[in-house]
Protein backbone atom coordinates (compact mmCIF):
# COMPACT_ATOMS: atom_id res chain seq x y z
CA UNK A 1 0.00 0.00 0.00
CA UNK A 2 1.53 3.30 -1.05
CA UNK A 3 1.32 6.46 0.99
CA UNK A 4 -1.14 7.85 -1.46
CA UNK A 5 -3.47 4.89 -1.07
CA UNK A 6 -3.40 5.25 2.67
CA UNK A 7 -4.18 8.93 2.34
CA UNK A 8 -7.14 8.09 0.18
CA UNK A 9 -8.46 5.69 2.75
CA UNK A 10 -8.33 8.14 5.61
CA UNK A 11 -9.12 11.46 4.04
CA UNK A 12 -11.56 10.24 1.43
CA UNK A 13 -14.28 8.26 3.13
CA UNK A 14 -16.29 8.57 -0.10
CA UNK A 15 -15.31 4.99 -0.85
CA UNK A 16 -17.22 3.73 2.20
CA UNK A 17 -20.48 2.22 0.99
CA UNK A 18 -23.71 3.84 2.13
CA UNK A 19 -25.04 0.69 3.77
CA UNK A 20 -23.35 -2.60 4.61
CA UNK A 21 -25.38 -5.44 6.12
CA UNK A 22 -23.52 -8.56 7.25
CA UNK A 23 -25.62 -11.59 8.25
CA UNK A 24 -28.26 -9.28 9.67
CA UNK A 25 -31.21 -10.97 11.36
CA UNK A 26 -34.21 -9.70 13.30
CA UNK A 27 -36.36 -11.79 15.60
CA UNK A 28 -39.45 -10.26 17.18
CA UNK A 29 -40.64 -11.69 20.48
CA UNK A 30 -44.19 -12.94 19.90
CA UNK A 31 -46.98 -13.88 22.27
CA UNK A 32 -46.41 -16.64 24.83
CA UNK A 33 -42.74 -17.01 24.03
CA UNK A 34 -43.35 -17.59 20.34
CA UNK A 35 -40.72 -15.84 18.25
CA UNK A 36 -41.22 -14.39 14.82
CA UNK A 37 -38.17 -14.35 12.59
CA UNK A 38 -38.61 -11.31 10.39
CA UNK A 39 -35.19 -11.31 8.73
CA UNK A 40 -32.41 -13.86 8.41
CA UNK A 41 -28.90 -13.79 6.94
CA UNK A 42 -29.25 -10.52 5.12
CA UNK A 43 -26.05 -9.61 3.28
CA UNK A 44 -26.33 -6.44 1.28
CA UNK A 45 -24.11 -3.55 0.26
CA UNK A 46 -25.55 -0.32 -1.06
CA UNK A 47 -22.95 1.85 -2.79
CA UNK A 48 -22.95 5.63 -2.66
CA UNK A 49 -25.36 7.10 -5.14
CA UNK A 50 -26.93 3.72 -5.83
CA UNK A 51 -30.70 3.22 -6.00
CA UNK A 52 -31.67 -0.12 -4.48
CA UNK A 53 -35.25 -1.33 -4.26
CA UNK A 54 -36.37 -3.92 -1.71
CA UNK A 55 -39.27 -5.91 -3.07
CA UNK A 56 -41.22 -8.84 -1.73
CA UNK A 57 -44.64 -9.98 -0.62
CA UNK A 58 -46.29 -8.50 2.48
CA UNK A 59 -44.62 -9.64 5.66
CA UNK A 60 -41.27 -10.47 4.06
CA UNK A 61 -39.49 -7.99 6.31
CA UNK A 62 -38.59 -5.39 3.69
CA UNK A 63 -39.91 -2.54 5.85
CA UNK A 64 -38.18 -4.09 8.85
CA UNK A 65 -34.86 -4.03 6.99
CA UNK A 66 -35.35 -0.35 6.21
CA UNK A 67 -36.25 0.36 9.84
CA UNK A 68 -33.05 -1.39 10.94
CA UNK A 69 -30.98 0.82 8.64
CA UNK A 70 -32.81 3.85 10.06
CA UNK A 71 -32.17 2.62 13.62
CA UNK A 72 -35.89 2.69 14.33
CA UNK A 73 -35.46 -0.98 15.29
CA UNK A 74 -32.32 -2.87 16.22
CA UNK A 75 -31.07 -6.12 14.61
CA UNK A 76 -30.93 -9.16 16.87
CA UNK A 77 -27.93 -10.59 15.02
CA UNK A 78 -25.33 -9.61 12.48
CA UNK A 79 -23.72 -6.28 11.80
CA UNK A 80 -25.13 -3.21 10.13
CA UNK A 81 -23.11 -0.13 9.23
CA UNK A 82 -24.21 3.09 7.56
CA UNK A 83 -21.36 5.10 6.03
CA UNK A 84 -18.97 3.03 8.14
CA UNK A 85 -20.72 3.92 11.40
CA UNK A 86 -23.17 2.01 13.52
CA UNK A 87 -26.79 2.59 12.52
CA UNK A 88 -27.38 4.47 15.78
CA UNK A 89 -24.43 6.81 15.25
CA UNK A 90 -25.53 7.41 11.66
CA UNK A 91 -29.00 8.34 12.91
CA UNK A 92 -27.59 10.67 15.54
CA UNK A 93 -25.34 12.23 12.87
CA UNK A 94 -28.36 12.60 10.56
CA UNK A 95 -26.75 10.71 7.69
CA UNK A 96 -30.09 9.83 6.15
CA UNK A 97 -33.43 11.34 5.20
CA UNK A 98 -36.57 9.27 5.50
CA UNK A 99 -40.05 9.11 3.95
CA UNK A 100 -42.80 6.79 5.11
CA UNK A 101 -45.83 5.21 3.46
CA UNK A 102 -47.99 7.77 5.21
CA UNK A 103 -46.79 11.29 4.50
CA UNK A 104 -46.69 11.84 8.26
CA UNK A 105 -46.90 15.62 8.01
CA UNK A 106 -47.72 17.63 11.11
CA UNK A 107 -51.22 19.00 10.36
CA UNK A 108 -50.79 22.13 12.47
CA UNK A 109 -47.75 23.26 10.49
CA UNK A 110 -47.83 24.81 7.05
CA UNK A 111 -46.22 22.97 4.14
CA UNK A 112 -43.14 25.17 4.45
CA UNK A 113 -42.89 24.64 8.22
CA UNK A 114 -43.16 20.88 7.67
CA UNK A 115 -40.31 20.92 5.17
CA UNK A 116 -38.22 23.02 7.57
CA UNK A 117 -38.84 20.67 10.51
CA UNK A 118 -35.55 18.70 10.28
CA UNK A 119 -33.59 21.95 9.95
CA UNK A 120 -35.45 23.47 12.89
CA UNK A 121 -34.71 20.42 15.06
CA UNK A 122 -31.01 20.86 14.32
CA UNK A 123 -30.98 24.58 15.05
CA UNK A 124 -30.46 25.88 11.52
CA UNK A 125 -31.02 29.65 11.40
CA UNK A 126 -34.27 31.11 10.13
CA UNK A 127 -32.97 32.70 6.93
CA UNK A 128 -31.06 29.55 5.95
CA UNK A 129 -34.21 27.53 6.60
CA UNK A 130 -36.31 29.77 4.41
CA UNK A 131 -33.79 29.61 1.56
CA UNK A 132 -33.62 25.82 1.71
CA UNK A 133 -37.37 25.32 1.96
CA UNK A 134 -37.92 27.60 -1.05
CA UNK A 135 -35.46 25.50 -3.07
CA UNK A 136 -37.20 22.29 -2.04
CA UNK A 137 -40.67 23.69 -2.71
CA UNK A 138 -39.69 24.47 -6.28
CA UNK A 139 -37.92 21.09 -6.62
CA UNK A 140 -41.15 19.23 -5.82
CA UNK A 141 -43.28 21.77 -7.72
CA UNK A 142 -45.19 23.18 -4.75
CA UNK A 143 -43.92 26.76 -4.73
CA UNK A 144 -47.45 28.16 -4.56
CA UNK A 145 -48.47 25.95 -1.65
CA UNK A 146 -45.87 26.84 0.99
CA UNK A 147 -48.39 28.59 3.23
CA UNK A 148 -51.10 25.95 2.92
CA UNK A 149 -51.81 23.43 5.61
CA UNK A 150 -51.37 19.71 4.70
CA UNK A 151 -55.12 19.02 4.95
CA UNK A 152 -55.68 21.40 2.04
CA UNK A 153 -53.46 19.29 -0.24
CA UNK A 154 -54.15 16.11 -2.20
CA UNK A 155 -52.50 12.83 -1.20
CA UNK A 156 -49.91 13.10 -3.96
CA UNK A 157 -49.00 16.65 -2.98
CA UNK A 158 -48.69 15.64 0.67
CA UNK A 159 -46.32 12.85 -0.33
CA UNK A 160 -44.24 15.33 -2.32
CA UNK A 161 -44.00 17.50 0.81
CA UNK A 162 -42.81 14.45 2.76
CA UNK A 163 -40.16 13.79 0.11
CA UNK A 164 -39.06 17.43 0.20
CA UNK A 165 -38.79 17.13 3.98
CA UNK A 166 -36.62 14.01 3.66
CA UNK A 167 -34.29 15.95 1.35
CA UNK A 168 -34.10 19.00 3.63
CA UNK A 169 -30.62 18.30 4.96
CA UNK A 170 -29.27 17.03 1.62
CA UNK A 171 -28.66 13.54 3.00
CA UNK A 172 -26.35 11.10 1.21
CA UNK A 173 -28.82 8.33 1.92
CA UNK A 174 -32.58 8.33 1.42
CA UNK A 175 -34.75 5.69 3.06
CA UNK A 176 -38.22 5.35 1.55
CA UNK A 177 -40.87 2.94 2.78
CA UNK A 178 -43.50 2.58 0.06
CA UNK A 179 -43.79 6.35 -0.27
CA UNK A 180 -46.17 6.04 -3.23
CA UNK A 181 -48.13 3.11 -1.82
CA UNK A 182 -51.28 5.11 -1.15
CA UNK A 183 -51.36 6.97 -4.46
CA UNK A 184 -53.39 6.27 -7.57
CA UNK A 185 -51.66 4.85 -10.63
CA UNK A 186 -51.32 8.10 -12.58
CA UNK A 187 -50.00 10.14 -9.66
CA UNK A 188 -47.74 7.25 -8.83
CA UNK A 189 -46.04 7.13 -12.24
CA UNK A 190 -45.70 10.89 -12.22
CA UNK A 191 -44.09 10.79 -8.77
CA UNK A 192 -41.71 8.01 -9.86
CA UNK A 193 -40.54 10.21 -12.72
CA UNK A 194 -40.04 13.10 -10.31
CA UNK A 195 -38.14 10.94 -7.84
CA UNK A 196 -35.82 9.68 -10.60
CA UNK A 197 -35.24 13.30 -11.57
CA UNK A 198 -34.57 14.34 -7.95
CA UNK A 199 -32.15 11.44 -7.44
CA UNK A 200 -30.18 12.35 -10.53
CA UNK A 201 -29.84 15.87 -9.13
CA UNK A 202 -28.92 15.01 -5.56
CA UNK A 203 -26.88 11.88 -6.26
CA UNK A 204 -27.96 10.31 -2.96
CA UNK A 205 -28.06 6.59 -2.32
CA UNK A 206 -31.62 5.33 -1.97
CA UNK A 207 -33.09 2.31 -0.23
CA UNK A 208 -36.63 2.07 -1.58
CA UNK A 209 -39.18 -0.35 -0.18
CA UNK A 210 -42.01 -1.27 -2.54
CA UNK A 211 -44.27 -4.11 -3.57
CA UNK A 212 -44.69 -2.93 -7.12
CA UNK A 213 -42.42 -4.66 -9.64
CA UNK A 214 -42.55 -1.98 -12.38
CA UNK A 215 -41.90 0.72 -9.80
CA UNK A 216 -38.84 -1.12 -8.50
CA UNK A 217 -37.51 -1.79 -12.02
CA UNK A 218 -38.18 1.74 -13.26
CA UNK A 219 -36.36 3.44 -10.39
CA UNK A 220 -33.54 1.13 -9.37
CA UNK A 221 -30.04 0.17 -10.29
CA UNK A 222 -30.55 -3.07 -8.41
CA UNK A 223 -33.69 -4.80 -7.20
CA UNK A 224 -33.39 -6.96 -4.09
CA UNK A 225 -36.04 -9.69 -4.03
CA UNK A 226 -36.97 -10.93 -0.57
CA UNK A 227 -38.81 -14.12 0.35
CA UNK A 228 -41.19 -14.22 3.29
CA UNK A 229 -41.03 -15.88 6.74
CA UNK A 230 -38.20 -15.78 7.42
CA UNK A 231 -37.26 -12.78 5.28
CA UNK A 232 -34.24 -13.71 3.17
CA UNK A 233 -32.67 -12.32 0.05
CA UNK A 234 -33.78 -14.61 -2.74
CA UNK A 235 -32.13 -12.76 -5.60
CA UNK A 236 -30.58 -9.46 -6.55
CA UNK A 237 -31.44 -8.32 -10.06
CA UNK A 238 -29.14 -5.86 -11.81
CA UNK A 239 -31.55 -3.74 -13.74
CA UNK A 240 -29.01 -1.44 -15.37
CA UNK A 241 -31.40 0.67 -17.38
CA UNK A 242 -28.97 3.56 -17.51
CA UNK A 243 -28.49 6.56 -15.27
CA UNK A 244 -31.30 8.08 -13.25
CA UNK A 245 -31.56 10.93 -15.73
CA UNK A 246 -32.56 8.52 -18.50
CA UNK A 247 -35.56 7.28 -16.56
CA UNK A 248 -38.37 8.81 -18.52
CA UNK A 249 -41.74 7.44 -19.55
CA UNK A 250 -40.18 6.07 -22.74
CA UNK A 251 -38.31 3.62 -20.55
CA UNK A 252 -41.59 2.05 -19.48
CA UNK A 253 -42.23 1.03 -23.11
CA UNK A 254 -38.77 -0.41 -23.75
CA UNK A 255 -37.82 -4.05 -24.26
CA UNK A 256 -35.14 -3.98 -21.52
CA UNK A 257 -37.73 -2.67 -19.04
CA UNK A 258 -40.10 -5.57 -19.78
CA UNK A 259 -37.35 -8.17 -19.57
CA UNK A 260 -36.20 -6.80 -16.19
CA UNK A 261 -39.82 -6.86 -14.96
CA UNK A 262 -40.17 -10.51 -16.00
CA UNK A 263 -36.90 -11.42 -14.36
CA UNK A 264 -37.91 -9.84 -11.04
CA UNK A 265 -41.32 -11.47 -11.30
CA UNK A 266 -39.80 -14.92 -11.85
CA UNK A 267 -37.61 -14.51 -8.79
CA UNK A 268 -40.52 -13.25 -6.75
CA UNK A 269 -42.80 -16.13 -7.61
CA UNK A 270 -39.91 -18.51 -7.06
CA UNK A 271 -39.71 -22.04 -8.30
CA UNK A 272 -40.90 -24.15 -5.41
CA UNK A 273 -43.04 -21.71 -3.44
CA UNK A 274 -46.63 -21.01 -4.17
CA UNK A 275 -47.50 -17.63 -5.66
CA UNK A 276 -46.76 -15.09 -2.94
CA UNK A 277 -49.60 -13.01 -1.67
CA UNK A 278 -49.54 -9.28 -1.46
CA UNK A 279 -47.50 -8.57 -4.58
CA UNK A 280 -49.21 -6.39 -7.05
CA UNK A 281 -47.90 -6.06 -10.54
CA UNK A 282 -48.51 -2.40 -10.99
Amino acid sequence: MTDEDEKNMTSEPTTTPAVVALNVGKVFPGKKGARVTALEEINLTVARGEFVALIGPSGCGKSTLMRLIADLDQPTSGELTVFGKTAKQARLDQEYGIAFQQAGLLPWRTVRQNIELPLELHNVGKSARTTRSSELLSLVGLTDFGDNFPDQLSGGMQQRVAIARSLAESPNLLLMDEPFGALDEMTREHMQGELAHICSETNAAVVFVTHSIPEAVFLSHRVVVLSPRPGRIRAIVNVGLGGSSERTDHLRESESFFSAVSEVREHLHGTTDAVPLGVDNR
Binding site: A70, D71, L72, R91, L92, Q94, Y96, I98, F100, Q102, G104, L106, P107, W108, T110, L117, P118, E120, L121, H122, F149, D151, Q152
Partner: protein
Protein backbone atom coordinates in the same frame (compact mmCIF):
# COMPACT_ATOMS: atom_id res chain seq x y z
CA UNK B 1 -72.41 36.50 5.69
CA UNK B 2 -74.17 33.20 5.40
CA UNK B 3 -72.26 31.81 8.39
CA UNK B 4 -73.19 34.83 10.49
CA UNK B 5 -76.80 34.41 9.52
CA UNK B 6 -76.60 30.70 10.39
CA UNK B 7 -75.19 31.50 13.82
CA UNK B 8 -77.97 33.99 14.50
CA UNK B 9 -80.54 31.50 13.32
CA UNK B 10 -79.11 28.89 15.72
CA UNK B 11 -79.51 31.31 18.62
CA UNK B 12 -83.23 31.97 18.03
CA UNK B 13 -84.76 28.72 19.42
CA UNK B 14 -82.91 28.72 22.79
CA UNK B 15 -83.59 32.45 23.25
CA UNK B 16 -87.26 31.89 22.50
CA UNK B 17 -87.37 29.02 24.99
CA UNK B 18 -85.75 31.25 27.62
CA UNK B 19 -88.26 34.04 27.10
CA UNK B 20 -91.22 31.64 27.19
CA UNK B 21 -89.90 30.03 30.39
CA UNK B 22 -89.50 33.43 32.06
CA UNK B 23 -93.04 34.45 31.03
CA UNK B 24 -94.53 31.18 32.35
CA UNK B 25 -92.53 31.57 35.56
CA UNK B 26 -93.79 35.13 36.02
CA UNK B 27 -97.40 34.09 35.27
CA UNK B 28 -97.20 31.11 37.66
CA UNK B 29 -95.86 33.24 40.53
CA UNK B 30 -98.72 35.74 40.00
CA UNK B 31 -101.47 33.18 39.36
CA UNK B 32 -100.69 30.81 42.25
CA UNK B 33 -99.54 33.60 44.60
CA UNK B 34 -96.20 31.87 45.29
CA UNK B 35 -94.39 33.44 48.23
CA UNK B 36 -90.93 35.03 47.56
CA UNK B 37 -89.16 32.64 49.99
CA UNK B 38 -90.42 29.74 47.90
CA UNK B 39 -89.80 31.27 44.50
CA UNK B 40 -89.54 34.97 43.71
CA UNK B 41 -90.79 36.21 40.34
CA UNK B 42 -88.27 36.93 37.55
CA UNK B 43 -89.16 40.62 37.69
CA UNK B 44 -88.40 40.73 41.44
CA UNK B 45 -85.02 39.01 40.87
CA UNK B 46 -84.29 41.27 37.92
CA UNK B 47 -85.24 44.33 39.96
CA UNK B 48 -82.87 43.32 42.78
CA UNK B 49 -80.15 42.49 40.28
CA UNK B 50 -80.27 45.86 38.55
CA UNK B 51 -80.72 47.75 41.83
CA UNK B 52 -77.59 46.07 43.23
CA UNK B 53 -75.35 45.98 40.16
CA UNK B 54 -72.38 47.65 41.98
CA UNK B 55 -72.38 45.06 44.80
CA UNK B 56 -73.02 42.14 42.43
CA UNK B 57 -70.10 43.40 40.35
CA UNK B 58 -67.70 43.87 43.30
CA UNK B 59 -68.57 40.41 44.66
CA UNK B 60 -68.17 38.90 41.17
CA UNK B 61 -64.69 40.41 40.99
CA UNK B 62 -63.71 38.66 44.26
CA UNK B 63 -65.11 35.27 43.19
CA UNK B 64 -63.94 35.73 39.62
CA UNK B 65 -60.38 36.41 40.74
CA UNK B 66 -60.38 33.31 42.95
CA UNK B 67 -61.73 31.24 40.05
CA UNK B 68 -59.12 32.67 37.67
CA UNK B 69 -56.24 31.91 40.05
CA UNK B 70 -57.65 28.40 40.48
CA UNK B 71 -58.03 27.96 36.73
CA UNK B 72 -54.41 28.98 36.11
CA UNK B 73 -52.84 26.92 38.90
CA UNK B 74 -55.01 23.88 38.23
CA UNK B 75 -54.39 23.99 34.47
CA UNK B 76 -50.64 24.45 34.86
CA UNK B 77 -50.35 21.61 37.39
CA UNK B 78 -52.66 19.37 35.36
CA UNK B 79 -50.64 19.78 32.16
CA UNK B 80 -47.23 19.47 33.85
CA UNK B 81 -48.17 16.37 35.83
CA UNK B 82 -49.78 14.80 32.76
CA UNK B 83 -46.51 15.30 30.83
CA UNK B 84 -44.54 13.69 33.67
CA UNK B 85 -47.03 10.82 33.87
CA UNK B 86 -46.81 10.28 30.10
CA UNK B 87 -43.01 10.04 30.34
CA UNK B 88 -42.72 7.94 33.50
CA UNK B 89 -44.91 4.89 33.49
CA UNK B 90 -44.65 4.38 37.24
CA UNK B 91 -45.99 7.84 38.03
CA UNK B 92 -48.85 7.20 35.63
CA UNK B 93 -49.78 4.02 37.46
CA UNK B 94 -49.39 5.59 40.89
CA UNK B 95 -51.41 8.67 39.97
CA UNK B 96 -54.28 6.83 38.30
CA UNK B 97 -55.60 5.72 41.71
CA UNK B 98 -55.21 9.23 43.16
CA UNK B 99 -56.98 10.76 40.18
CA UNK B 100 -59.80 8.22 40.38
CA UNK B 101 -60.20 9.17 44.05
CA UNK B 102 -60.12 12.87 43.21
CA UNK B 103 -62.84 12.38 40.61
CA UNK B 104 -65.33 11.03 43.16
CA UNK B 105 -64.18 13.30 46.00
CA UNK B 106 -66.46 16.30 46.52
CA UNK B 107 -63.59 18.75 46.36
CA UNK B 108 -65.59 21.67 47.81
CA UNK B 109 -66.06 19.54 50.93
CA UNK B 110 -62.37 20.16 51.56
CA UNK B 111 -63.06 23.88 52.02
CA UNK B 112 -63.65 23.84 55.82
CA UNK B 113 -60.48 21.78 56.32
CA UNK B 114 -58.49 24.15 54.12
CA UNK B 115 -59.86 27.17 56.00
CA UNK B 116 -58.33 25.55 59.07
CA UNK B 117 -55.00 24.90 57.34
CA UNK B 118 -54.72 28.42 55.96
CA UNK B 119 -55.89 31.64 57.50
CA UNK B 120 -59.68 31.95 57.36
CA UNK B 121 -59.26 35.65 56.57
CA UNK B 122 -57.43 34.91 53.31
CA UNK B 123 -58.74 33.82 49.91
CA UNK B 124 -56.09 31.05 49.69
CA UNK B 125 -58.37 28.19 50.69
CA UNK B 126 -60.99 29.20 48.09
CA UNK B 127 -58.34 29.44 45.37
CA UNK B 128 -56.99 26.02 46.33
CA UNK B 129 -60.44 24.46 46.13
CA UNK B 130 -60.88 25.94 42.65
CA UNK B 131 -57.39 24.71 41.63
CA UNK B 132 -58.18 21.18 42.75
CA UNK B 133 -61.51 21.19 40.93
CA UNK B 134 -59.73 22.38 37.76
CA UNK B 135 -56.78 20.01 38.07
CA UNK B 136 -58.73 16.77 37.65
CA UNK B 137 -60.39 17.29 34.23
CA UNK B 138 -57.30 19.05 32.83
CA UNK B 139 -55.00 16.23 33.96
CA UNK B 140 -57.25 13.43 32.68
CA UNK B 141 -57.85 15.04 29.27
CA UNK B 142 -54.23 16.12 28.77
CA UNK B 143 -52.93 12.64 29.56
CA UNK B 144 -55.38 11.19 27.06
CA UNK B 145 -54.25 13.75 24.47
CA UNK B 146 -50.56 13.05 25.02
CA UNK B 147 -51.23 9.42 24.12
CA UNK B 148 -52.68 10.31 20.69
CA UNK B 149 -49.29 10.78 19.01
CA UNK B 150 -49.25 8.82 15.74
CA UNK B 151 -46.52 6.15 15.39
CA UNK B 152 -45.33 7.74 12.13
CA UNK B 153 -44.72 11.03 13.96
CA UNK B 154 -42.85 9.24 16.72
CA UNK B 155 -40.67 7.47 14.11
CA UNK B 156 -40.10 10.78 12.37
CA UNK B 157 -38.85 12.47 15.53
CA UNK B 158 -36.61 9.51 16.33
CA UNK B 159 -35.24 9.41 12.78
CA UNK B 160 -34.31 13.06 13.12
CA UNK B 161 -32.62 12.42 16.47
CA UNK B 162 -34.93 14.87 18.24
CA UNK B 163 -34.45 15.29 21.99
CA UNK B 164 -37.26 14.44 24.43
CA UNK B 165 -37.90 18.13 24.96
CA UNK B 166 -38.11 18.79 21.21
CA UNK B 167 -40.47 15.85 20.72
CA UNK B 168 -42.79 17.14 23.45
CA UNK B 169 -42.75 20.68 22.05
CA UNK B 170 -42.99 19.85 18.35
CA UNK B 171 -45.27 16.80 18.28
CA UNK B 172 -46.70 15.65 21.61
CA UNK B 173 -48.15 18.89 22.98
CA UNK B 174 -49.59 20.08 19.63
CA UNK B 175 -51.22 16.66 19.21
CA UNK B 176 -52.68 16.93 22.71
CA UNK B 177 -53.80 20.56 22.34
CA UNK B 178 -57.47 19.89 21.37
CA UNK B 179 -57.73 17.50 24.34
CA UNK B 180 -56.13 20.01 26.71
CA UNK B 181 -58.66 22.62 25.58
CA UNK B 182 -61.54 20.21 26.20
CA UNK B 183 -60.23 19.72 29.74
CA UNK B 184 -59.82 23.45 30.39
CA UNK B 185 -63.26 24.20 28.93
CA UNK B 186 -64.90 21.72 31.33
CA UNK B 187 -62.71 23.08 34.14
CA UNK B 188 -63.57 26.74 33.47
CA UNK B 189 -67.13 26.54 34.79
CA UNK B 190 -66.05 24.07 37.50
CA UNK B 191 -63.59 26.71 38.75
CA UNK B 192 -66.42 29.22 39.25
CA UNK B 193 -68.73 26.64 40.85
CA UNK B 194 -65.97 25.51 43.24
CA UNK B 195 -65.03 29.08 44.17
CA UNK B 196 -68.69 30.02 44.84
CA UNK B 197 -69.49 26.92 46.91
CA UNK B 198 -66.23 27.19 48.88
CA UNK B 199 -67.50 30.56 50.16
CA UNK B 200 -70.54 28.82 51.73
CA UNK B 201 -68.23 27.15 54.23
CA UNK B 202 -66.62 30.25 55.70
CA UNK B 203 -63.71 32.48 54.94
CA UNK B 204 -63.58 36.25 54.61
CA UNK B 205 -66.56 38.48 53.71
CA UNK B 206 -66.97 39.14 49.99
CA UNK B 207 -67.71 36.94 47.04
CA UNK B 208 -70.91 35.78 45.39
CA UNK B 209 -71.29 32.61 47.49
CA UNK B 210 -70.93 34.52 50.74
CA UNK B 211 -73.47 37.12 49.50
CA UNK B 212 -75.97 34.39 48.56
CA UNK B 213 -75.83 32.87 52.07
CA UNK B 214 -75.97 36.29 53.74
CA UNK B 215 -78.97 37.45 51.70
CA UNK B 216 -80.78 34.13 52.26
CA UNK B 217 -80.08 34.28 55.98
CA UNK B 218 -81.62 37.78 56.00
CA UNK B 219 -84.70 36.38 54.23
CA UNK B 220 -84.00 38.63 51.24
CA UNK B 221 -84.67 35.88 48.73
CA UNK B 222 -84.93 37.99 45.58
CA UNK B 223 -81.47 39.45 46.41
CA UNK B 224 -80.07 35.94 47.00
CA UNK B 225 -81.41 34.98 43.57
CA UNK B 226 -79.86 38.10 42.07
CA UNK B 227 -76.45 36.87 43.32
CA UNK B 228 -77.23 33.41 41.92
CA UNK B 229 -77.86 35.14 38.59
CA UNK B 230 -74.47 36.86 39.00
CA UNK B 231 -72.78 33.46 39.57
CA UNK B 232 -74.44 32.05 36.45
CA UNK B 233 -73.22 34.99 34.39
CA UNK B 234 -69.68 34.66 35.83
CA UNK B 235 -69.57 30.95 34.98
CA UNK B 236 -70.83 31.73 31.49
CA UNK B 237 -68.13 34.38 31.00
CA UNK B 238 -65.42 31.88 31.99
CA UNK B 239 -66.82 29.17 29.73
CA UNK B 240 -67.22 31.46 26.72
CA UNK B 241 -63.75 32.98 27.21
CA UNK B 242 -62.12 29.52 27.10
CA UNK B 243 -64.32 28.43 24.21
CA UNK B 244 -63.33 31.55 22.27
CA UNK B 245 -59.64 30.99 22.99
CA UNK B 246 -59.99 27.37 21.88
CA UNK B 247 -61.73 28.25 18.60
CA UNK B 248 -59.26 31.01 17.85
CA UNK B 249 -56.15 28.93 18.62
CA UNK B 250 -57.24 25.85 16.68
CA UNK B 251 -58.37 27.91 13.70
CA UNK B 252 -55.10 29.88 13.64
CA UNK B 253 -53.11 26.67 13.31
CA UNK B 254 -55.37 25.18 10.67
CA UNK B 255 -56.87 22.21 12.53
Amino acid sequence: MKAAFGATKGLVPPLLLGVVTLLLWQAAVAAFDIKPFVLPSPTAIGGQFFANIPTVWSNSVVTGFNSLVGLFIGTLLGILLAIVASLVRMIDELSSAVVAAAMVLPIVALAPVLYGMFSASQQTARQLVASLAVFVPVYVNTLKGLRQVRPVHRDLMRAHAATTGQTIRVVTLPTALPFIFTGVRIASSLAVIAAVIAEYFGGPIGGLGKSITTAAAGSNYPLAWAYVLGSILLGLVFYLAVLGLERWTLRARGT
